[in-house]
């Protein structure tokens, strides 16, 4: 398709404006975290890492960070095991109700967080005797599974069954085929899925508020709780800046994986 010169210029301008809208606020957060001023007034009153130091030495921030990381790792681990198994089952075998099962797996990510949150909250408090850290992990796993499953399923479909048949043909039993062929060929897709799942869990707030046990504060919850306390504002800003960096990294790594896959045929 060829595009006229005027159209090209107009599209470029629109693209630039759209990007500016998204990224200027993020840049402001990052710049402000190094603001030397007491109240984060704009323009910044000089460069300083004092708020970063304050954030690092803040007990609440540190605890929330540890909680979020442990939660993310646990939810991701659950999602990796279940999501991979589900993808293998649905990608390799044809059975009655396969499409419905696939829909049921994907649905939690499409449901509004508040619905998932209320539903899980009801079940946990009614049948599991209340909210704990464990219920929080279960809740996060419901949507973390989806991204692992989607990544794994795409890879399973792209691989086809051929290399696994070749492996069986050469004398490998089922588990040998999984260890030597299936898993190595899925590894990069699973890593991508795991990073995305961790990222999802790390910045989740709605489902978390409904399913976290008493006294459990994740980093996003901490931000929410401290957002409107004027003396905490600079520290909240630092935490937000930190979250920006932590969220960008997995996406960047995942993109590197997928472009490496396109060149090297699924080899990580």
């Amino acid at each position: 398709m060829t595009t006229g010169r005027g159209t090209k210029v107009a599209l470029s301008i629109f693209a630039v404006i759209a990007f500016l809208f998204v990224y200027i606020p993020l840049a402001v957060v990052l710049i402000n975290s190094f603001n030397a001023g007491e109240t984060l007034s704009w323009p910044p009153q000089g460069f300083s890492v004092r708020w970063w130091e304050a954030a690092v030495s803040n007990e609440g921030v540190r605890e929330a960070l540890v909680t979020s990381v442990v939660l993310g790792i646990c939810a991701t681990a659950v999602a990796l095991v279940l999501g991979t198994l589900a993808a293998l089952a649905l990608g390799r075998y044809n059975f009655f109700g396969r499409d419905s099962v696939s829909l049921l797996i994907i649905l939690p990510i499409a449901l509004p967080g508040i619905v998932t949150g209320i539903a899980l909250n009801n079940v946990f408090t009614t049948f599991l005797g209340g909210l704990t850290f464990f219920t929080l992990i279960v809740a996060h796993s419901t949507f973390c599974i989806v991204v692992v499953y989607n990544n794994a399923l795409a890879r399973v479909r792209r691989l086809g069954g051929n290399v696994e048949e070749a492996s069986a043909d050469l004398g490998a039993r089922g588990w040998q085929t999984f260890v030597h062929v299936t898993f190595p060929l899925m590894r990069s897709a699973l890593a991508a899925g795991a990073l995305l799942a961790f990222g999802l869990s790390f910045d989740e707030i709605i489902v978390t508020t409904f399913t976290a046990g008493p006294g459990i504060t994740t980093l996003p919850i901490w931000i929410y709780q401290n957002l409107f306390r004027p003396n905490q504002a600079p520290i909240v800003n630092v935490v937000a800046a930190f979250l920006v960096i932590v969220s960008i990294l997995p996406i960047y790594i995942v993109q590197r994986f997928s472009s490496a896959d396109e060149r090297g045929g699924g080899v990580m």
């Binding site: 070749a166 492996s167 050469l170 004398g171 039993r173 060929l185 090297g264």
Partner: protein, 357 residues
Amino acid sequence: MLAPFSGVLRTVSERGHVSTAIRLTNLRKEFGDVVAVDSVDLDVADGEFLTLLGPSGSGKTTVLRMIAGFEQPTSGTIELAGVDVTQVPPYSRDVNTVFQDYALFPHMDVLSNVEYGLKVKKVSKAERRQRAEEALAAVRLEDYGARKPSQLSGGQRQRVALARALVNRPRVLLLDEPLGALDLKLREQMQVELKELQRAVGITFVFVTHDQEEALTMSDRIAVFDAGRIAQIGTPVEIYEHPKTPFVAGFVGVSNLLEAGVAASLLGREGLWSVRPEKIRVLLGTASPEGSERAAAGVIREVVYVGMSTRFIVDLDAGATLIAVQQNSHATSSELGAMRGQRVTLMWNTEHEIPVG
């Protein structure tokens, strides 16, 4: 062309003589409502090169996949060397497969690909390294062990797939259209190499193809598949010179069928007959037959120049349309073009009239 495959040769002779490598009895395979394979009986002799030939969807690949163990037959039995393996999983069958798209493991280098079968069977590292290198040498890829499959050409991948299968010294090698993805030149070269390799190693080859020329040039015997059944099984000469059904006559070579009515008036014979195009001479104008020759008058509808030869499509006055192929030993393309629409006499020896079905 290929280095002697001493390791494999040794093993085959150690096994002693078994006359039947594969026996398929009343094999049937249904996929839902579709009957893919029906009433297939087939004996493959030890060391034979057997080709399953047929159009796509004729069931030949399904038969191969059932021998390999990837598909369970709906009914019937599969025996390998006299042992019923119908219920045996693929990894316990003494057969190896060369897949259509090679199915090399993309994350392993060439040497690891070839070693794989020995590794999962717990052959010692030293022995499997030696045997893999031997197998790579046999397909002239001894310097390619460290490469990844993605760094190889189609023909090289094909050879790796072959080495990866043969290194296990199987009793039977199954080949699923292994040359389909190669260009014509390479395909013709690999046909010769495969045939030589098969003679050298003495392993039974079951070869699936839809290419009749490939089947005719390589096989000891050909089983022609039509709609899930074996239409005919025989040597290439039997299949080509004496097709048993109109389908076989049409699929192997050009059909040139003379329907019952035409056959009666032209040949004075009952039933369906065929004459191969290269057996027919094209003579301009009228000519009278001599001795055991048969003459049929007609008009050239189309002249197709195909380089080495020319194909004449002739509408006979008797009602049929025959194709005749002539070598381009003298004619030039401009002369040939001028022949369109001309009256000709087709001439062939009556011994080349083949009853079909």
